[in-house]
Amino acid sequence: MMAAVRGQGILAVLVLIVGVVLLADWRVTVLLAVWLGAWLINHGLSQMGGAWAMRVVPVIFGMCLLVLWQMAVTLFAVSAVILPGPLAIAARFGSSLDVLWGDFVQTFVKGALSGYFIGCGAAILAAVAVDRSVFLQRGLLPVASFLAALPVVGIAPILVMWFGFDWQSKSAVVVVMVFFPMLVNAVEGLRASEQMQRDLMATYSASYWQGLFKLRLPAAMPFMFNGLKIATTLAMIGAIVAEFFGSPTQGMGFRISTEVGRLGLDMVWSQIAVAAMAGSAFYAVVAGIEKRVTFWHPSQRGR
């Protein structure tokens, strides 16, 4: 009874809003109608529940945003210099695949990936060293967690000066950016095994290295992957931002900054689409590996 009354109240308010807006501008009403329609479908689907509906709902939401974007651009005749519509961006994307691929290889494969592997590898090795020494734990960890909170992006101009304009400097920026968050997570992870489990290893008279590889590294994996997942986004950011401070005539950051200057915003948005897809795919790959490696952890078993 209460719910029904409240439902009617919400409906009345909605009708009122739509009425007022309709008087103001019919284009806003069209957009609102599309939004409401998609929302009602999603509402119904999520009430139904089930794995299938939960997959479809976000897809509908995303499509709805794209449609609204295109409609808003068309209806309000927004200049392509300010905001191109998704269709125009898709057209540009399709017609300049080779440029996008070249930039992608330069920035992501050469810059971000190499830096990601070097930085995360170094951080894990450093974490093992830190974990072995109480002195380093007390001394290095506060410093590292301080450095992890710093705006490390600021170091990009310096590293570009040191390592030149090509991908090596981008890689160096990525190494610095991913190192500290990864280190903090890895050290936390290496401490995650319980005293009881360590004692058991001791009763087996396991050596330090056996204890490390058989117990503590596996137990650290959920934390490690937490750091590895954070580092994927940081690597993308580092590689692209570093290109603003100087780059060869190729690369996603280079293309973005030059195309902004030439008002080629459809190209810029194509690069953003590439960055988004590369970032999501990178994240998804790491998350997939995590699922395989840490299948035993409660957060993975729940699903």
Binding site: L45, P58, F135, G139, P142, P157, M161, I256, I272
Partner: protein, 297 residues
């Protein structure tokens, strides 16, 4: 305080490494200069010289400290455009840049945190929102928004949105996500028993939110606010890169164009102090609030 000695040793080691790296990296320039002048120099001459170059590859710590002192305290007290002479902060000093960056960061953080909390409340109370918004909120963070921030700023400027707001928008975008994730976790942290108790009291959803869910979410909220405020500082600095005028990001880019390495390092130190200060303030508030609520900080 038992951590003090190890921390000091580690910081000392970093300083020592820094000095030796400065000698190694700046030595080449001294040798080139000597080579052009046609004289040979020994290490004993090179080492002191590398400490006082005007545009070193890597400035020594004391150079950075001196520059920092010069650009903050000396500039404001003795400079013609400084605080004492003109009554306002000098546009050549670092304090005005730090202030501009700080204000944009705070505005962006307030917007981002507020939006994040609202979104989290919606997600917790509405299934449709949970299913449709959450995956996209996660996907939105895999987009390197920081990387495209300069473009967004330029476009917003061309539309006529200028000043503090565009920078704050980038900062808000970066800080809202950690807040959403932490807050959703926090609002869901009361266990079923407590929720059932409220239902037996015939409490409404709003009462459940204010009396149970919000208090229970406080530790999660503060943990994510710390991440969020650091992220919004990074967002502001990057957003300032393409803009003229004031701001730490602008200073970084200017320093990089003109090869003013000491100035870049001094700016970085200011940014670091700002970041540590902001996180520290949130941490202090966290300690106070949680202690008042009877939780351990």
């Amino acid at each position: 305080m038992r951590n003090l000695a190890p921390v000091l040793v580690v910081v000392g080691c970093i300083m020592a490494l820094w000095y030796s790296a400065a000698v190694m990296m700046n030595a080449q320039w001294e040798r080139d200069q000597a080579g052009r002048a046609g004289v040979t120099v020994s290490w004993a001459q090179i080492v002191p010289a590398t400490m006082h170059q005007e545009r070193p590859v890597l400035p020594a710590p004391h150079q950075v400290a001196a520059e920092l002192w010069q650009l903050t305290f000396v500039e404001e007290t003795e400079g013609r455009r400084g605080l004492l002479q003109s009554g306002s902060l000098s546009n050549r000093g670092l304090l005005i840049h730090a202030w501009v960056t700080l204000s944009a960061t705070m505005l962006g953080f307030a917007m981002g945190a507020g939006f994040g909390i609202l979104l989290a409340v919606g997600i917790v109370h509405n299934r449709a929102m949970d299913a449709s918004v959450m995956p996209w909120a996660i996907a939105s963070q895999t987009i390197p928004i920081v990387a495209i921030a300069p473009m967004i700023i330029v476009v917003l400027n061309s539309v006529g949105v200028a000043g503090l707001l565009p920078k704050a928008l980038i900062a808000a975008y970066l800080s809202f996500f950690p807040v959403v994730v932490g807050m959703v976790k926090g609002l869901r942290s009361p266990d079923a028993m407590q929720l059932d108790l409220l239902r037996t009291y015939n409490a409404t959803a709003a009462q459940g939110l204010w009396r149970l869910r919000f208090p229970a979410s406080a530790p999660y909220l503060f943990a994510s606010l710390k991440v969020g405020i650091a992220a919004s500082l990074v967002g502001t600095i990057v957003a300032e890169l393409p803009l003229g005028g004031a701001g730490l990001g602008t200073r970084l880019l200017a320093g990089s164009y003109y090869g003013q390495t000491i100035q870049i390092w001094a700016t970085l130190v200011v940014a670091a102090v700002l970041a540590a200060g902001l996180v520290g303030v949130v941490g202090a508030v966290q300690g106070r609030v949680l202690a008042r609520m009877g939780m351990r900080a």
